[in-house]
């Protein structure tokens, strides 16, 4: 029999689903509130998935629903924004799998390469039917969104529709999105920037000076580019907004948690204790180890990534390792 019914239900272009309730989600809600204030009746509805939907005495902002019912959050949403650490993404993807539809757009802000060399988009692909994946990269500083500054960020997707949908959503907002199709490149530099931050923080604590810091950051980008080349990334991505554009401002701000982690290592604190002190997700540590392991099987030389990985595994002394890396020509 001929099936003449086209797929139902259709998606709601004004519904945004958010998974994760961290700082980024708060910043996004602020953005949405600003857009909604000017849009009136055409307001965006935001559903936020959180384990504890109760806000205590506070009532949620207009147009925002906090709930622990995942299906309610996802249902008919045009866009699903996933703002969880890379290390939690596989779990989230598995939970999403029964609820999502092939025409939904998913946006990822997670940065990291997980065990088995999985990029965030690989995890979504491996666990769900979603194909319209967008990666948000570049210097997206939550604190700056909070104070209402204009932001620049990168949106990477192979699908034009993802770009259009995101632009439509943020059209009047405070973020300018630069578009690229280099999904792999943006994810690799996003993940490996953290290795460079760890090295930069360590160099600072060891008193190696600004030049050494610069060299380590530059090497971080170069090594990320080498890794990217193996996966078909565009070399230009690494010197664009998602690469240099992110590394320059971040490496000079002292708040980045990977820089702080690097500083603690530089002070001679053991990796495990340093991580405990940071008390936040350190995706960069996992990414570094995964990529170092991968480079061995491929016989690809990545001195900085290997050095940091060896330090994290306590196979080598930090000062010696950085010294050896710095003595190599770029």
């Amino acid at each position: 029999m001929v099936n003449t019914n086209y797929p139902k239900p259709s998606l709601d272009n004004k519904k945004l689903a958010i998974i994760g309730n961290g700082n980024l989600t708060k910043a996004v809600l602020r953005l949405v509130a600003a857009v909604n204030a000017s849009n009136g009746a055409d307001a965006t509805q935001v559903f936020v998935y959180t384990r504890q939907p109760s806000l205590g005495s506070l009532s949620p902002p207009v147009g925002v629903v906090f709930t622990n019912h995942l299906s309610e959050v996802i249902q008919r949403a045009r866009i699903i924004l996933v703002a969880v650490p890379a290390t939690a993404l596989a779990d989230v993807a598995q939970k999403l799998s029964p609820h999502v539809l092939p025409d939904q757009v998913i946006l990822l802000v997670s940065r990291g390469i997980t065990e088995g060399f999985y990029l965030p988009s690989d995890l979504i692909r491996a666990h769900t039917c979603l194909r319209k994946i967008g990666i948000i990269g570049g210097p997206l500083h939550v604190r700056e969104i909070e104070v209402g500054r204009r932001m620049n960020a990168v949106i990477a997707s192979k699908f034009d529709e993802v770009i259009q949908v995101v632009r439509a959503f943020t059209g009047m907002g405070a973020i300018s999105f630069q578009h690229t199709r280099d999904v792999v490149g943006v994810q690799i530099i996003g993940a490996l920037a953290n290795t460079a931050y760890i090295a930069a923080g360590a160099a600072e604590a060891l008193g190696l000076g600004q030049t050494a810091r610069g060299v380590l950051i530059a090497r971080g980008i170069i090594e990320a580019r080498i890794v990217g080349a193996s996966f078909g990334a565009n070399p230009e991505t690494f010197f664009g907004l998602a690469g240099l554009g992110e590394l320059i401002p971040r490496s000079v701000t002292s708040l980045e948690r990977h820089i702080q982690f690097g500083r603690l290592l530089g002070q001679g604190i053991y990796p495990k204790e340093a991580a405990e002190q940071i008390a936040d997700h350190l995706e960069g540590a996992t990414s570094t180890k995964v990529v170092a392991e991968w480079s061995k099987t491929k016989s690809i030389s990545l001195p900085l990534i290997t050095a940091i990985s060896d330090v994290l595994d306590q196979k080598a002394q930090l000062a010696d390792q950085l010294d050896a890396v710095l003595s190599k020509p770029l």
Binding site: V2, P98, P102, A126
Partner: protein, 547 residues
Amino acid sequence: MRKEDQERVVTELVSRVCERHMRTHTSSEGRSHLQDVLEDSLYFERQRLELDGGKSPAYSRDLTFWHNIQIKLRHATEPKLQQLIREVIHGYVFEIQGHFNPRVYALATKALPSGLGLLLNAVSPLKVLRNLPQLPRLEDRIIIEGQVAQLQRLHQRGTVVFVPTHASNLDSPVVGFALYKMGLPPFLYGAGLNLFTNPLLSFFMRNLGAYTVDRKKTDPLYKDILKEYATISLENKYDNLFFPGGTRSRSGAIEKKLKRGLLGCGLAAYINNLQRRRAKPKIFIVPCTINSQLVLEAETLIDDFLKEVGKSRYIIDDDEFSQPRRVFDFAAQLSGLDSKIHIRVSSGLDVFGNPVDENGISLTPGGHSVDDRRYLLKGDQITSDPSRDHEYTRELALSIEDAFSRNNIVTSTHVTARAIFLALRRRNPSMSLLRLIRTGGVDDDLPISTVYQTANEILEKLIKLERTNRICRSPSSRGTAEAIIADGLKLFGIYHTRAAAKRSGDRIIPTDRTLLLYYQNRLEGYELPGGDVLDDDNRVLRPTHHS
């Protein structure tokens, strides 16, 4: 293709391709788009004919044809151009169109088992004739395993595109036979023009649904027509066979970086089916691996791989296959042994790369059902969108590559070659691979105990991989390292002009390192001990410079 469909398909094909080009009226400089298309065709065809220099049988016919087009093209008005493009398209379609005849097919499938048996089992044509009643049956040589029942069901539920790995020119008749044994009708497929020059194969090709693909034709219009031909045939419920690697694997490795042009036809046909609200609209992609212990053309293929002489390397006119003597020798040698070809059918996929269940319903990786039509929605309409569809096809290619890798069947020759090659690499750690292959390294031979040791390391990892469904092992790669190596060496010794390796006392002599490379490459990409020797583009890795 059935006779009653042939004319209809040709008419539809010509009108679709014509329409597509006529819709674009003028190019950027205000010239007629059709003029541009025809001039391109003329340019590419003249270039091809120049290179051909009279070798192909259709040379003079083609020369005259294009000469006439050139004359008519001058000062042609738009209506005249439309007529000319129809003429060119008709010319191409006529050549592509297979001459499938159902009555001949019935005959060919009956003749096939013994005919192919002749290829695979014959000791000599004379002996075949003498022992005709005792002819070893093809059933004993070709083992079909995997998701056969699902394939049969999918064929009932929609239209199937069968996508096997490709190592040898023997693959197409072998697959043809396997499909016949699985109770499926002949699948349409595009076979290289060079295959039709082998009289034995040509007979089967023509009658098993093969249409002609001339890989020397680089005219974009020709490629466009080939794709449309496959698309329309799928819409008309003709199951198709594509070799998605595009050509036989030169390196011996399982194919990566599949050709997406032809793969995209499945999606195009699905969209057309949905838009026209046809019954059973789904197109299923079924990957399969063809696994044999020895490959007839191994020497030529790996030489070609190492030469890397530009584009011409994709067309080999004179491999072992063009020498009937070699084919018979190969078959004769194989029949003396208990050598088998394993066809492993993997689970079906939809055109987006999702797995499907036995009823053809698309599934998420976790097993939840998916309404795959939603991938194609724009608003509430099913649409086609070249850029989006290209991405879906890329995802499909990735799923096929994964299926190939998981359904790859390891045999004794692969393990033997890999073990010897790894021992060689370890013995010569600072030597570049290409140099190692050329010179053989510092020693002339290796202690067999070292080879057993590397074989054991490899086997240990293979067993783990098999447990997690990452690879399959044939009976010939089970058992002790000693037994597997003995079997591998025996096979290496029987067919190739020079054995890849041989045993002398308790030493192993790696006689032909290029052949060792070829056979060991089948186990690339599994993170086996010692790492890979090919990079992701299937090039031999350069040595690492640890400066």
